[in-house]
């Protein structure tokens, strides 16, 4: 059963310099109890999608397409029902969570706020629930009255997770939840997220640029580039047998220790991730692609089948239409 269903999503920011297409024609589903990993670098649109699901963008941003959360069309909701759905239907663990806590309020208060704002419980019950949540994320309940500065980075992140779970959402969006953390603390937090997700049967959208983290926590991975999904499939296979050349490059940035292919040979791409205001024509990856051919700058590229339960937007995959230059 699909908890989140996104169809043909287009998100365009309107700026003084013109329209900026941040997300273009994105379609995916997340089922109950499944984790979808969304990988990509700066400017690819992944954080924009997170904001779009809860309609956190400004009114000037143009959002087209369909976003269904538990069957409800989020984009069609009026402000009242929308506010009700926020946090109870889906919640977000924000990027830069270390700064997302109000420094002058106790952390318990901030978690309880999520509950009381949605009128799910009175103040006393909310406090009890908050203590439960803290235990669930591995913090002693007595920390309920601590201020953010009394907690370490990893502990603050756990508070953010507790907050995200406060209203029993069906979907949790984690936007770069471990980026600023030390590798050991990152492992702890990832372990926590994974066990909570299993325990509570949550659907999760995990957004990060670190492909190896996604390989570890997600069931499926979708790779984004220049606002589009360029590859998707089962997590393990996407990471170990990438079909799209960009995925290969991204995976190469997180080599496994012991893999002799990368010893002394750092793998990287020339150029930079494209500016959403200046997306290259045809396949947006072609200026940096090591296997680009003459057809690529004019190619109307789409997600084609790249094997069983796999799709990639590259002319070289098996399901791509054949062209006169490429021989099968």
């Amino acid at each position: 059963m699909s908890v989140l269903s996104v169809r043909d999503l287009h998100v365009t920011y309107r700026t003084k310099g013109g329209d900026v297409p941040a997300v273009r024609d994105v379609t995916f589903d997340i089922d109950r109890g499944h984790v979808l990993g969304l990988a990509g670098e700066s400017g690819c649109g992944k954080s924009t999608i997170a904001g779009a699901i809860l309609r956190l963008h400004s009114a000037r941003t143009r959002i087209e397409g369909e976003i269904s959360l538990e069957g409800q069309d989020v984009l069609a909701l009026r402000p009242g029902p929308l506010r009700a759905v926020r946090w109870t239907g889906a919640s977000i663990i924000f990027q830069g969570a270390l700064h997302a806590l109000n420094p002058v309020r106790e952390v318990g208060d901030q978690i309880a706020e999520a509950i009381t704002v949605h009128k799910l419980a009175g103040e006393r019950e909310a406090r009890v629930r908050t203590a439960e949540l803290l235990e669930q994320v591995g913090l002693p309940a007595r920390r309920i009255d601590d201020y953010p500065h009394e907690l370490s980075g990893g502990q603050k992140q756990r508070v953010m997770i507790a907050m995200a779970l406060a209203c029993n959402p069906s979907l949790v969006i984690a936007d770069e939840p471990t980026t600023a953390l030390d590798v050991m603390v990152q492992a702890q937090v990832l372990q926590l997220l994974k066990s909570l997700q299993r325990e509570l049967g949550l659907a999760m959208l995990f957004i990060t640029h670190d492909l190896s983290v996604l390989a570890e926590v997600s069931d499926r991975i979708a790779i984004m580039y220049a606002g589009k999904i360029v590859e998707e499939g089962a997590a393990d296979r996407v990471f170990h047998e990438p079909a799209h050349p960009y995925t290969t490059a991204l995976a190469g940035a997180f080599p496994e220790i012991g893999d002799m292919r990368f010893r002394g040979k750092p793998s990287g791409l020339g150029g930079d991730p494209p500016d959403p205001q200046h997306i290259p024509s045809g396949c947006p990856f072609h200026p940096r692609c090591p296997v680009a051919i003459d057809a690529c700058p004019t190619l109307d590229v789409d997600l084609w089948s790249a094997g069983e339960d796999r799709r990639a937007a590259c002319i070289h995959v098996s399901g791509a239409p054949s062209f006169s230059e490429a021989s099968t």
Binding site: S212, E216, L250, I257, G268, D272, P273
Partner: protein, 370 residues
């Protein structure tokens, strides 16, 4: 160590160029106005607590560890940006004096944030030429003009044609290009050593490889030595010849990269390698707790409060628990060039009479005991 690894090891190992002996750096905590005036010392954070390290000519040494372990402080002390409280830094065998002007020409730094490392009001040309101007160099060794030296440095850093970049401001370049400019600014003085503090962690993932390739290229072409400070062991695997792992102000393990990363001896190194994410799930033992506070260093082996060997009772079984808890442990050589500061590792060494197998397959780092 296998034969090929040893060969590679000996090939890249040149003469020692920077030697650090018994280095100590501590910081005083917050003080009040009056205390500041009287220079009172309040709580002291010992960032570097007795470090011995050698950087050889032509080698890439990775200094790895979590935040708070002192690796950045150590790098800055080597650069001469922080004055140590104790210990010595030798450059080519001679200790650094108080006047570091000449030293600065030979040892250059590349910082973590390329955007913040460049003065936003200076053009690229001026940022690169700055080093020359500070040292009063108007001519190259073969009579080159300042402009020719700048052009050469920019080219070496991969920005071609260099003239295109002269008049640009940092905000007009991408992150990767900015880092190249910083590297060019370091190369223009023809240094012997580059100290790179997390040189790629602020860059987009697909761009990192290029910058690392550049560092390796300049190491090969110009016979530079590079000290890379990083928290990313995967990066160390990719570029480093040798790795030194730091914990709470001390080096706990050091040796050739393949040895340390594939056959770690210290429990902390093993734990760090365990948690590098990889496909297949995270059901591996993870250290509890947070990176500890440099103002409160535990007695005995400073890792013992978090050490799985102590926690699981292995240490008691081996009879070393008393020492782990009470006696400070130093680095000892376990295999040629491979040192570790751990009582358990020493026992392991002493019990092994045959050389280690070749690192052709990845050993399971889950085994913690002998």
């Amino acid at each position: 160590m296998s034969d090929t690894a040893l060969e590679r090891h000996e090939q890249t190992m040149g003469e020692p160029i920077i030697e650090v002996r018994g280095l100590e750096v501590s910081f005083a905590g917050r003080t009040s106005l009056l205390q500041g005036f009287r220079r009172d010392k309040v709580s002291v954070a010992t960032a570097v607590d007795g470090v011995d390290l050698t950087l050889h000519e032509g080698e890439v040494l990775a200094l790895a560890g979590e935040s708070g372990c002192g690796k950045t402080t150590l790098a800055r002390a080597i650069m001469g940006l922080i004055r140590p409280n104790a210990g010595q830094i030798l450059f080519r065998g001679k200790p650094l004096g108080r006047k570091l002007h000449a030293y600065r020409r030979e040892v250059q730094m590349v910082f973590q944030d390329p955007t913040a490392s460049l003065n936003p009001r200076q053009t690229i040309y001026e940022s690169v030429a700055e080093g020359l101007r500070i040292h009063g160099i108007h001519q190259g060794p073969n009579g080159e003009t300042e402009e020719e030296l700048v052009a050469r440095a920019l080219s070496q850093a991969g920005l071609r044609p260099p003239q295109r970049f002269y008049l640009l401001f940092p905000h007009e370049l991408s992150g990767g290009q900015r880092q190249r400019v910083v590297i060019a600014g370091a190369l223009v003085l023809d240094p012997k050593v580059i100290v790179a503090d997390e040189p790629v962690s602020n860059l987009d993932a697909s761009v990192r490889g290029e910058i690392l390739q550049l560092l390796l290229k300049v190491r090969d072409e110009l016979r530079l030595s590079i000290l890379i400070v990083t928290h990313d062991l995967g990066l160390a695997w990719t570029v480093a010849d040798r790795v030194a792992v730091m914990y709470l102000g001390r080096i706990v393990e050091a040796g050739p990269a393949e040895d340390v990363l594939l056959h770690p001896r210290h429990p902390y190194t093993k734990a760090l390698l365990n948690v590098v994410p990889e496909a297949g799930g995270i059901d591996r033992p993870i250290l509890l707790g947070e990176p500890p506070d440099p103002t409160r260093i535990p007695p005995g082996c400073r890792f013992h409060p978090r050490c799985p060997v102590v926690a699981t009772g292995e240490a008691a079984k081996l009879g070393i628990e008393e020492r782990c808890r009470g006696e400070d442990v130093g680095l000892e050589e376990l295999a040629p060039g491979h040192l570790a500061a751990c009582y358990e590792a020493w026992i392991e060494r002493d019990s092994i009479t045959s050389p280690l197998p070749a690192p052709s397959t990845r050993e399971d780092p889950r085994t913690l005991g002998p």
